[in-house]
Symmetry: C2
Subunit: 350 residues, 2 copies
C-alpha cells in the first residue's frame, strides 16, 4: 500500500511522525511518502536506519499551524496537508495520514477529495477505548451541528465498517442519550431514534455511557459535538485518575498517616509496587490513544486518518495501521455501497 504521511503533523513534528513512518515501513513494507519541509524532514529521516525501506520525501513548503482555520487551508495550497491530500486525489497514493490540525485536515479533505456521492456530511470514526470489545464511535467531531438525516448516514457508514472491515456480524448500533427510554435525549436524539427504528439496522436503542463501557453496542452513534466531548471526557478522567493514583501511591499516604508508622509497611510494599506496575500499565494502555492511532474520516472520497496532535512515534505508526486496515477492507466501496443502497431504498421504498 502507498501511504502519504504528513511529516509536519504532530505537535513535536517532524520527529515522531518520521519515526512512526520508519516503524511502519519496517513492519509492513508499505511505500511511505513523507510530505513536509524537505530541509526538516530529510535530516530527521537520516537519524534512522532506512536502507532498503520504501520511504520517500515530498517537499511541501507551507505549514498549517494547530490554531489555524479553514481560510489558511484554502490559501496554503502548498502545505503538507494539501499536497498530501492531492497525492491521494491524483492516485499517487492510497491513503493520507496526519496527526495535524483536525479542522485543517477535514477542510482539505472536503476541498481536495470531495465527498462520496450521496454523502451529506463527513464523520470521524474512532475506537472508543473504554470497553472490552472493539467499539466504533462516530462522529468524534467532524460535524458538530447534525440533523437526523446526517446521523442516519453516520449509522449506516459505521455499521457497514464494523461489519465488513472488522468482520462483526450484524453489528449492534446504539444511540448516545441521557437515558435509555425512547423519549430521552434532546430533540436531535429523539428524532434520530424514531428514524433509526425504520432503517432495518440492528438498532439496540439509546445507550448511556455506562452501557457503552459494558459492551452494549458495537457501533455508538452521536453528533460530532457530543461525541468529541465524550471522548475528551473519557481521556481526561482516565488521565486524572492515573495521575491521582500515582500521587497517592508515591506520597499522599505518607503525609497523612505519618512516616514512622508506615516505613515497615512501605518496605514490604516495594516488591508489591513493582508487581503492580504492569497491572496499572495494562489498564492505562486500554486508554492510551497511541494504541489506536487516530480517527478515520468517513464520507470523503479517499482514505484519510487523523491522529492526535500529541502523537508519539507509536501513535503515528498505529494511525498508519488504521489506514492500512481501512484500505484492506475496501472502506470506500463499503461506504459507497451502504450509502448507495440506502438512497435507492429511499427512492423506491417498495
Amino acid at each position: 500500500m502507498r501511504i502519504v504521511l504528513d511529516a509536519m503533523g504532530s505537535d513535536q513534528h517532524p520527529a515522531p511522525d518520521v519515526a512512526g513512518a520508519v516503524m511502519a515501513a519496517r513492519e509492513w513494507g508499505d511505500e511511505i511518502t513523507l510530505v513536509g519541509r524537505e530541509e526538516l524532514v530529510r535530516p530527521e529521516l537520516a537519524k534512522h536506519k532506512t536502507q532498503g525501506l520504501p520511504i520517500t520525501v515530498c517537499h511541501a513548503p507551507e505549514l498549517i499551524e494547530m490554531h489555524e482555520h479553514t481560510e489558511a487551508v484554502k490559501r496554503k495550497r502548498e502545505s503538507s496537508i494539501r499536497v498530501g491530500m492531492r497525492m491521494v486525489r491524483d492516485g499517487q497514493a492510497d491513503a493520507f495520514v496526519s496527526a495535524g490540525n483536525t479542522t485543517a485536515v477535514l477542510a482539505s479533505a472536503i476541498f481536495d477529495l470531495g465527498r462520496i456521492r450521496g454523502v451529506k456530511r463527513p464523520a470521524l470514526a474512532t475506537i472508543y477505548p473504554v470497553a472490552s470489545r472493539r467499539v466504533l464511535l462516530l462522529d468524534n467531531g467532524a460535524t458538530a451541528d447534525c440533523k437526523p438525516e446526517y446521523m442516519i448516514q453516520f449509522a449506516r457508514m459505521g455499521v457497514a465498517y464494523a461489519e465488513q472491515v472488522w468482520g462483526i456480524p450484524n453489528p449492534r448500533l446504539g444511540l448516545v442519550s441521557n437515558g435509555e427510554e425512547p423519549d430521552k435525549g434532546n430533540m436531535l436524539v429523539r428524532d434520530t431514534y424514531a428514524a433509526l427504528s425504520q432503517t432495518g439496522l440492528n438498532f439496540v436503542g439509546n445507550v448511556e455511557p455506562k452501557e457503552i463501557t459494558r459492551d452494549a453496542a458495537d457501533v455508538v452513534l452521536t453528533d460530532g459535538f457530543t461525541g468529541n466531548v465524550m471522548v475528551k471526557t473519557t481521556e481526561a478522567i482516565a488521565s486524572f485518575l492515573f495521575r491521582h493514583l500515582r500521587r497517592e501511591l508515591t506520597g499522599g499516604t505518607l503525609n497523612k498517616v505519618g512516616l514512622v508508622l508506615l516505613v515497615p509497611g512501605l518496605i514490604a510494599m516495594l516488591p508489591g509496587l513493582a508487581l503492580l506496575s504492569p497491572a496499572l500499565r495494562r489498564t492505562a494502555r486500554k486508554l492510551d490513544y497511541a494504541e489506536y492511532g487516530g480517527a478515520l474520516l468517513m464520507g470523503v472520497d479517499g482514505v484519510v486518518v487523523v491522529g492526535h496532535g500529541r502523537s508519539n512515534a507509536k501513535a503515528v505508526k498505529n494511525a498508519i495501521r488504521q489506514a492500512r486496515e481501512a484500505l484492506r477492507g475496501g472502506v470506500l466501496d463499503v461506504i459507497r455501497a451502504s450509502v448507495g443502497r440506502a438512497a435507492s431504498q429511499e427512492a423506491d421504498p417498495a
Copy 2:
C-alpha cells in the same frame, strides 16, 4: 431547618432514604418529614433509634416509579413527590429532597412550585467530581434542548451560587466545548460564547474536559443533554477503571504470567495491598456520588435537591446536607437577585 424527604425515592426505598434521614437529624438536628407510604415508612423508621429526633412521617399513598413520565406526575397528586413538593409550596417545609425519578421531581417542581419570576428554564446544578477544587456544573439534565438565552441564565444562577453560597470571589465561568477557540463548538455553544462575552461575568472562555479536571473554572456551563452525558461518562469511566484495576490486582496478572513465578512476589505484596486500599479508596471517594448527594434544581420557586437513584444512606444524608447549604446561603434570594439584576440591565442598558 425543615426538610421533607421523599422516603420512596431511592431504588432500594425506603431503607436508604429513612436511614439517611435519621443520620441527618442526628447530626444536624433538622426537622425532617418522611413522606411516603406510612405502612412501609413507619416499620423502617422503627428499626432506628429515633428517640428525641425531630422526625415525623407524612402519608402519601401513591408512588411514581422510576420509568414513569410526566403524565404519571400529573395524575398522581398523592404521590410522595407531589405531596412533599406541596409542603414546600405551602410553607410547611423549607426544602424537598428526593433520590427518585429526576424527570418526575422536575415536572412536579414546575407544576407545584413554579419557576422563579423571570427564569426561562430550570437547571440541575451538580458538583463535578473530577477536580481538586469544588466545581459547579450546570445543566446536568433539566433542560436538554437549550437556547443561548437559557444558557446565559444558567450562567448567572451558577455564578451567583458559587459566589454567594460557596463564597468563591468572582467565580470563573467556563463554557464546555470541543476546543478552546471561540469558533469551536456547535451553533448553541458559539452563540452562547458571543453572548457571554457581553455579560460582565468572569467568563474564561471555552473549556475542554481536560481543563475542567485541572481547575480551569469554578462554574462549568453546558446544556442539559451534553452535561448529563459528560457527568455520566465521568462516572462510567471511573467505575470501569476501578473495576478493571481491582480485577487485575486480584487475578488478571496471575493468569497471564503464571502462578509459579509470582507466588513469592504476591506474598510480599500482601501488606502492600493492605496499604494500597486506603489510597485507592480515597481516589474512588472523589468520584463517589454518595459524597456529594445530589443536584440542586435551580430556577424553581423552592429549594429542591435530586439525588442519585442508586443512593445509599450516606448519599441521602449528603443530599440533605446540600439542601441545608443552599438554604443557609439563601439560594432563592441569590437566584432572584441574579436573574432580576440581569433583566433590569437588559431593559435599561445604560
